[in-house]
């Protein structure tokens, strides 16, 4: 039994040829984890915005001026966007059986990745430029 445990197991995700559906699923996980990490900051921002009119205006000013805060806010938005888009795809698949063929699943995955890139680029321009 001990000898068996020494046997190597080949596993290299980076060298694996995953379809776009698989890559999207991994990004969905990453975006979910990122959202979880940023959640505390977003709750702090929300709390600050509700505490008084002055705090709200100062938060708006910080969001306009502080690059770090802007970046966190942007990451929250794009993470939420990606997670939601893939969530919609999962709902379509689970409840209506849409995208369960490799071809249709691939087309749907490319479509929402494209939508994500367009909206994320738009948000980037709006927030940073």
């Amino acid at each position: 039994m001990k000898e068996e445990d020494k046997r190597p197991i080949y596993l290299n995700l980076l060298a694996t040829d995953l379809p776009i559906i698989g890559v999207s699923s991994i990004l969905h996980r990453i975006s979910g984890f990122a959202l979880f990490c940023i959640f505390i900051t977003s709750v702090w921002m929300f709390d600050r915005s509700l505490s008084s009119e002055g705090e709200f205006l100062s938060l708006v000013a910080d969001l306009n001026n502080l690059l770090a805060l802007k970046t966190v806010f942007y990451l929250f938005l794009v993470g939420f966007l990606y997670h939601s888009l893939l969530g919609i795809k999962k709902v379509l698949s689970d409840f209506f059986g849409i995208g369960e063929e490799l071809k249709s699943g691939t087309i749907i995955s490319w479509t929402y990745n494209l939508i994500f890139l367009l909206v994320a680029s738009f948000l980037f321009v709006k927030i940073f430029i």
Binding site: P8, I9, Y10, L11, E100, L102
Partner: protein, 246 residues
Amino acid sequence: MSATIPLEEVKTLTLNIYRFDPGKDEKAYMQDIEIEVPVNKDLMVLDALLIAKEKDTSLSFRRSCGEGVCGSDGMNINGKNGLACVTPLSEAVKRDKLVLKPMPGLPVVRDLIVDMKQFFDQLEKVKPYLITKDEDPEQERMQSPEEREELDGLYECILCGCCSTACPSFWWNPDKFLGPAALLQSWRFIADSRDQATEERLDDLDDAFSLYRCHGIMNCVSVCPKGLNPTEAISNIRKKLINRKG
């Protein structure tokens, strides 16, 4: 007058192969073996391996029928699982290089040979055989053509293991998640009009891991050498489980 036999035009192909010999290697390594393949013929990956084995007889891999029926020579070909005997070099080779590794996630016995025990243990759990409770009929159990059609896309599975070993959910939980191959077999018997153990089969799958670890990545569909769709089979079982609860 002497007739000249035209020499076959050949080119060099580098095979980058995963090597591990439990008798002498502490850990696995990659080895380059250069072979010559004809330019005008499209060989299969298995043919290339057989040529390489002539150069290095210690090279080990499983093979049997050589035509995609037995499912013995499943391996990772340039990052994608497939059967070496039905994968043409024209499809597999990238930049004159062919990287061959064992199927991911299972212990390597030697070189490209993996221990399939985990895979077959999971298959055994779904009881891949017809279960009947009635007395055996005098003749065979009948099915209408429509009932028989329900099994198309399911019975063709050759259990090569390409799908399950390409599934990230199976990599992380190979002892708890049954994997696409076993679940396709499960649906094959749930969908069979002659089977009388549907409820018991569904009961066995109704936990957090056995079935629900599938996240619809569809790598199983992407690699299946028989063009089957385990994701759809898993989805059908899931619907059946949800409907019986509702």
